[in-house]
């Protein structure tokens, strides 16, 4: 496995990585610490396992799952997804801006990411409150157990994501820091929250 130092050697300080698909294509690289991808793959596999357990439980009592699933608010789910996709877009812009040394723009986009993440957080809490208000809790039935479990474990990833974004903002803040590697590593973590949610959305809200 290559280290961050190798990446640093490939792209020394000051050289802008042009990844716009032009003719001057640099060597292939992993954004951020390759180490973060170990986390991404490990978590991705763990979630595949959770999803599999969910689908198998579902196929054992399909009617119960469908009946409870009808109580979810599909539009809220779509809204959640759109917001998280927007946050991923913003963090990708932030990384690109930092790469081009336009740190003002990078910082703005990082704050935009935080904002979208916060909107997701609030809408998730409101959604839970609404479900609980209707009497659907963690122990109501098997569907709601999985619903609260998957959304909550994702929510914990989101909360850690705020710490991770804070690290990125801290890096961007002062000219003394601004490690492109750390910023890209943080972005990779944030995208993980996004792509896991895309799957959770399809499995909890859409599938039948």
């Amino acid at each position: 496995m290559t280290t961050g130092a190798d990446t640093e050697r490939l792209f020394p300080e000051g050289e802008i990585r042009t990844v716009s698909g032009g003719a001057a294509q640099p060597a292939r690289f992993v954004p951020g610490q390759p180490d973060m991808w170990v986390f991404v793959f490990f978590e991705a596999l763990v979630f595949t396992a959770y999803f599999t357990v969910y689908i198998v439980s579902r196929s054992r009592s399909p009617d119960l799952f469908l009946k409870s699933q009808a109580h979810l608010n599909l539009r809220v789910g779509v809204f959640n997804t759109l917001v998280l996709l927007a946050s991923s877009w913003a963090v990708a812009r932030s990384v690109q801006a930092a790469r081009e040394r336009s740190f003002r723009s990078a910082l703005t986009n990082a704050f935009l990411t935080l904002f979208f993440g916060f909107v997701f957080l609030v809408s998730k809490v409101l959604e839970w409150a609404a479900e609980i208000g209707q009497g659907f809790t963690f122990t109501t039935d098997e569907f709601f157990s999985f619903y609260y479990f998957l959304t909550a474990i994702h929510f914990i990833h989101l909360l850690i994501g705020f710490i991770v974004l804070t690290v990125a903002v801290y890096q961007l803040w002062s000219p003394a820091r601004r490690s492109q590697e750390v910023i890209e590593t943080c972005a990779t973590y944030w995208h993980t929250i996004d792509f896991l949610w895309v799957l959770i959305f399809a499995l909890l809200y859409v599938m039948r």
Partner: protein
């Protein structure tokens, strides 16, 4: 292996395991680390054997058993429980030297000593919910098969919930280790191991529903609360044993003087050893 300060060190002899062990005991400067590492390896294997084969308490039985079924459960494995946990009680203290070795890895890092100390204390505490309380509850249950069945079920719940439901120590312990690895600049462990600690911590959270459900994926024997969690934990353990071994192999004590001996009896320790101390 580096040469000893004593001067001429004979080559590691070929031949029987016992002779090689004797050589390492006599000349290997990393013997303290190897004692810790081998204790870890032997202990985890023994742990698997005792819990899965001898006591047959893992994979865990169903939480939904009726009290008469619990009485049968205890009767079925009476000798396994009593003798198996007796061995657990004897070797349980070995965790002290294991955790000391893991804490030492944090002392090698460029981080505050607070990390090593926190880890040491957290995992010293972890032996209680990790195995000892369960062992006591199972032994007491197995001792008197004629006990009131409702109390037998209380002991059964006590055993499995103390074992599975108290993951906070492992959660915080993993986070402490994660932070130490990520902050470290000495490269004691690769950064990805830091992130793997986070994965392990996240699966410890997932066990909490065992306090709420008596059946299904989230119960103490459930696919999510037990099987996936155990899979992650076993992977994590194998990874850190391998990385710890690499750390010990890399460790270079050289021929330098011993660290921190009483004044007047030894020269001042070299920088590297100071770092190791």
């Amino acid at each position: 292996m580096s040469a000893s300060a004593m001067g001429n060190v004979p080559e590691e002899p070929p031949g029987s395991l016992l002779r090689r062990i004797a050589w390492h005991w006599r000349y290997d400067e990393k013997r303290e680390l190897w004692i810790g590492w081998w204790t870890l390896v032997v202990f985890y294997n023994l742990y698997g054997l005792l819990f899965f084969v001898i006591t047959r308490t893992q994979p865990p039985p169903e939480p939904s058993l009726g009290s008469s079924e619990v009485v049968e459960w205890f009767a079925d494995r009476r000798h396994g429980l009593v003798y198996g946990y007796a061995i657990v009680f004897i070797v349980g203290g070995a965790t002290a030297i294991m955790n000391a070795t893991l804490a030492y890895s944090m002392r090698r890092m460029s981080v505050s000593r607070a990390f090593a100390y926190s880890y040491l204390v957290i995992y010293a505490l972890a032996t209680l919910p990790g195995m000892l309380i369960m062992g006591v509850a199972c032994t007491v249950g197995a001792m008197r098969p004629d006990r009131d069945p409702e109390l037998m079920r209380w002991l059964y719940d006590f055993a499995f919930l103390s074992f599975e439901g108290t993951m906070g120590v492992f959660l915080v312990g993993s986070l402490v280790w994660m932070l130490a690895v990520l902050l470290d600049e000495n490269g004691v462990f690769p950064k990805w191991f830091g992130y793997l600690n986070l994965c392990n911590a996240l699966t410890e959270v997932v066990v909490a529903p065992a306090w709420i459900f008596k059946s299904g994926a989230f119960a103490w024997n459930g696919t999510i609360a037990w099987w996936i969690n155990m899979g992650v934990f076993v992977t994590y353990t194998i990874v850190f044993l391998t990385l710890l071994r690499r750390m010990i192999l890399r460790e270079d004590f050289g021929t330098g003087p011993l660290p921190d001996l009483s004044p007047g009896r030894a020269p001042a320790p070299s920088g590297l050893l100071k770092a190791a101390r």
